[in-house]
Amino acid sequence: MSWLSRLTPRGPGNRSSRTSALSSPCTADPETCLMVFDNHWRQVSWVLEQRDPSGSSDDLTAVRNHTDQMLCLLAEERPGEGGEGADMGPILRLVVTENVLERVVQWHLRRGLDPDSQGALLKLFEMLIGQSHQPLLQHKAVLQPLLSLLGACAEPQLGCPLSLENSLVLLLNQVCVSMARAPAVLELLFRTGPAQQGPTNLLIFSLLVPFIHRDGAIGQQARDALLLVMATSASNQGVARYIAENSYFCPVLATGLSALYSSLPRKIEVRGDDWHALRREDWMGVASLVLFMNSLEFCNAVIQVAHPLVRGQLVDYVHNGFLVPVMGPALHKSSVDEMIASTAYLDLFLRSVTETALLKTFLRFILVHRHDNDTILDTLLTRISSNSRLCMVSLGLFRTLLSLNCEDLMLQLVLRYLLPCTHVMLSQRRAVRETDLYGKSADKFLSLIPECCRLSTLPPADREEEPAFWGKVLNSPGSESPAHPKPSTPSRLALFMRQQSTGGNSSTPPPMETVPSSPRGGPSAPLSPDSPIHTVPEGLDWESGYLEYLRDARRGIELCSWACRNWSAPYDGEDPSPNTAPLPPPAPTSNPSLAMFPEHFSFQQGGGGSGTSPGQSLFNGTSSTGREDGRADGRDGGMEVKKVKRDLGEQWKPVGAEQNGTAGPGPPPACGSLLASYGEANRGVSGERSGGLPSQPVPVPSSAPRSSSPDMLTRAPDPSPGWGPPEEMLSSPSEVVERLISELLDGPGQGEGGQIVPGGGDSNIQGISIEAFTQELRELEERVRDRDRGRGEGRAARLQEDVTRDSLSEEPPTPSALDADLTGAGGEPRGETSAMGLVSPARPLGQPASQPYTGPFMVVLFAKLENMLQNSLYVNILLTGILSQLACYPQPLLRSFLLNTNMVFQPSVKSLIQVLGSVKNRIEAFAASHEDFPAMLRKAQRYLAARSKVDWADTSPMGVPPLRRSDSLVKSRKPSLGDLILRHTNSPTRARHAAQLALAHVRDGGQSLHSALFRGGSGGGASGLEKQAEALRVKNAVYCAVVFTEFLKELAALAQEHAVSMPFPKNQDPEE
């Protein structure tokens, strides 16, 4: 921020024009000046000594004239010889000894200060302080009258008339500037005050505070002045304490943000369909936003320079006075427009804040604060799965977040889900740290490039086709449009410049792109100034294009690992240990009420029959001892459920119950299929639940639940990480089964989950377990379903709980022989973990039950990615950008999850390579069904390459951080590409209608625009809308093919570069 530069005090020279107006002709020798001064003073003092203070206006005029002259002389005077200000000049000495200023001011005050003379005095003092050649303020004879004057301005009855505000602020500003030059003055100001002013002893301060949020120059001067006070007081404990405890500075500043925020537009007028983030030129024209940003920048600057006490208080106020009460609800508004606006604002704020402490507050708010039981992060995550604009804005926000390389954020977002290592097959744990030494993963990624996208060169005949179809559609006014519209998608687009296979027209050397994959690739990540401008040869071939990716990847990884060098742990699958990692919140399959679990506790203890130690629930036991126990206790749970069912009758008979009958303790194959369906079921559950239907454990067509139903994630993970039992119950069985199967395959002797319980080497146990598990799986599912339904009908749930408790306490389940056996076997580890359970409540409840789950972020990103073919170009660009940002992170847990294609994950865990494979198939299917695909693909490539050039050209004044770019507003007013795209129906209204339709669908939680529009089609007489929709669908798919291909190269390059990157040593000094 430019605040520090503003701290440079205004030099006296700035005012020369005014000086000349006032200054007396005598710049002669000091002697003469003193004589003139003395002369003036004698005449003034004659007036002052008159008894009647309310003298004539002649008196006033005389005093004013003389005072003007005197003060000019004083200002002009040079300090005496010998030492820094040690010697006062003769005039100043006279002023001090005679107490000239005080007497003049007091005379004015006595006779009643009219606005006119008040203004004149303010100006005089401002001139004096601003222009004096010698330090004045440390003299009480100057300071005291100044404070008297200011005190008058602060008085409620007199106050400061509106017309004088400018003078007042200017004077205060000057005082602060001289104070910044001589910090001792601050102490004086502080000390001198109390006598007169009581609690508000730092008068300049309390006078300035009301102007903090003021618009225009006056606000700016006030903020500058305050900032100077802050900076000067940074090392002054007393003043800092005063500011923090006795002034309203921090609350005014922070709550002012709230006030300003509330005047921001609720809806952002969206220009292009590529718009996804507020750039400077977007908000420069919005007065309310400018005002807000000024204040936010001021907060940031204050935090930068102020005393820790003030900083701490301000940060607290920002959190509690702005973020929580205003930003939180704003983000949760129900209208999509408001969601879009608030998300874009938050993104803008995050990009503008540079001070660590303030950023911490924002991040803490996002990560920790709960609004209606969900963290802000959860809420934001759900938005990614929405359609169109909201998704893009949310992706933009996450891109900003990821670029912070913040450990806490990454922990909450991804790493905590990977920490327990349950997503990996046990045998694969050690592979977590392996890198792609021989390019195998890279090869795998590259092999996914669809055949139909590999035609990188064309027969010459093809090149000179008619002007690109895409060009026509996209630049609809045609090539005559004088200037290229500026895309607001990140310069990542420039990556397509590499693929200018169609060459031909690229006579101008396209410059190198701006780090598309850079982890800090903001909307226009500045190109490093010293980067060479590469000429991309025409007919670029794969290799050199790939080389660019390699270089970008190296840079991205290097910057990221540099940024992460001071993280608390390497996250390599060993540190933090997967065994002690608290279990992350499970997949959002259900949303249990917390009250349920304690009841189990109580029952369990009361019943006492199961042999689990006190303080441990059924599942507690399970968790602590690993899979055998899990099974045993799971069985207990099953019994429990059965009883509940019996007691309740068929009333709530779940689907699972029927299955129970038909499948019973099914043979392993049945189990397998069930398992397969499980992930799908889980995915779909929330949606179905909300409809009040029981979820069916039958395979759901993969497209249905995954297509972006906004509902899907609105059921965010349980807010309290530790206390989500029923979710875990639900997920537990499938995981247990998977684990069992995987272990059967892997061979005996391998523990799983957080607790390693190698006791399972007993083949006997394994032999019987599948059937048992299938059974338990069903029972547990039913139980959870019952719960869930119960929750839906509030009273019923209560009733059910009662029944549960009653029935169970009547006949506590008797552990089978097997159970007893197992419980015994696991006795020792259990004790150990129950101790751990105290530390982290999540653990005992969750451990065995949790199904491997890589977290909502990954799930939603992958779901979105899988849907790539339907996504708009801009969504895909943002999406792949975020994924490659993630893939830059050097932490082995994350790296292996994304980039190690040889890794074997648990069946329920979807890997990136799987998702990409499915996209590949879809693209190939699409290409096969469209004869003209190759031609369209080329056009798309050509268009993107051309556009990236525009993009680059526009962002070429590099080295300027995105926010500070002073692009002209005019430029931003130009119709954006997106406008033009939408205009291809030649009807803006219709385009708008289409956009509204899209938003409406978002709101309804329906399908994406495209699918919604196209599904209905074909039957009718092909209305314009349908044609348009079909064109959109084709366009999206073709663009997707291009982006997908480039993304694969990007990933391959990242995999290779990770293998050759060197970590940075920890705790190197962050700044030199």
Binding site: L359, Y438, R554, A569, A1059, M1062
Partner: protein, 341 residues
């Protein structure tokens, strides 16, 4: 505009040296008496090879050769490549002669041995680069290697023996990595001067590496292990199936004589320390007597050097934040007081 793929090399060589230098300062000085300029330029070797590959490709393209042939040719070509006069990073797209047309699309899409053909060169380069990175990370005591300027398949090295029978020995060697790495034989290690050692061929100077790596297994065997082995043989002497039977017999029968022969051999090696490198290569390791004018400054630079990302701009944006207490996995668990300012 530094685009080299392993920027880290020089740094880490520096760090390694720092680590050793406390033990043997002279050692350090000697190693880094190598070309100062080369030290700076060296990391670009791999980029250069990229360029080479592309050029090869281009040639083959004009000759309408298949990709397989290209690969073979390029491998054949590697040892006898003319050295480039100007050591400068090839800013690839600019300097590379534009390839008007890569191999026809059909060829491009072909896969050879399961490898997407056109990316093949990257894999070998990166595999070796990755191996080199592993060597650096291992911080092998007393061993320094440096890939040659001309080929990534040839690495120059030197090993310092700090105690035992071969104490004070400074042995230069060259590592030859097979073309078909990592699927071929294990790399060969040849000492510049045949050291008197049961496992070192008295004529060729080649160390018997294969006995330790009977079958080179990718993913399991790494070049740093070979280097480690090359060091170990001087501390733990094995006389089984020797390449130098005389040394083996002496060690078993007459240790005193063996010892004196070893001392002689060490002396001989050290007396040739300042010789010109055996292989003419800008990155070959050469030694020179300590020259304060040259070496003091270089040493100072190495000790004070701190590696940072290539285009690391300060103040661009805050990043790398962490408030996680070490040992915790909870966000914002760090003590407020210890929070970074």
């Amino acid at each position: 505009m530094n685009l080299n793929p392993f920027w880290s090399m020089s740094t880490n060589t520096g760090r390694k040296v720092r680590e050793c230098s406390s033990a043997q300062r002279s050692e350090f000085a000697q190693v880094h008496s190598t070309h100062k300029r080369d030290e700076r330029d060296k990391p670009w070797i791999f980029s250069r090879n990229f360029q080479r590959d592309i050029r090869t490709l281009k040639r083959s393209d004009s000759e309408e050769q298949s990709v397989q042939q290209i690969a073979e040719q390029q491998q054949r070509a590697s040892p006898s490549r003319p050295s480039f006069g100007k050591k400068q990073l090839p800013t690839i797209p600019k300097n590379t002669a534009p390839i008007t047309k890569p191999a026809s699309p059909a060829t491009t899409t072909q896969s050879i041995n399961g490898t997407h053909a056109s990316y093949g060169p990257f894999y070998l380069e990166y595999s070796l680069l990755a191996e080199f990175t592993l060597v650096i990370k291992q911080k092998l005591p007393g061993i320094y290697v440096q890939p040659s300027y001309k080929s990534a398949l040839m690495w120059f090295g030197v090993i310092f023996i700090r105690h035992g029978l071969y104490q004070d020995g400074v042995f230069k060697f060259t590592v030859y990595i097979p073309d078909n790495y990592p699927d071929g034989e294990c790399p060969r290690v040849v000492f510049d001067i045949p050291v008197f050692h049961p496992l070192v061929d008295p004529v060729s100077g080649e160390l018997d590496v294969r006995r330790a790596f009977t079958k080179w297994r990718r993913n399991h065997n790494h070049i740093w292990q070979v280097l480690m082995y090359a060091r170990t043989v001087f501390y733990k002497i094995n006389t089984m199936e020797p390449l130098n039977p005389e040394a083996a017999v002496l060690y078993d029968k007459d240790v005193q004589l063996f010892k004196s022969k070893v001392v002689e051999s060490v002396k001989l090696c050290n007396s040739h320390l300042f010789d010109q490198p055996k292989i003419d290569d800008p990155y070959a390791i050469s030694f020179s007597p300590w020259n304060p004018a040259v070496h003091d400054e270089a040493k100072e630079r190495m000790f004070t050097h701190k590696r940072r990302p290539e285009d690391h701009h300060k103040g661009l944006q805050v990043s790398g934040l962490s408030w996680v207490k070490p040992g915790s996995t909870q966000p914002f668990s760090k003590d407020e007081n210890s929070q970074q300012s």
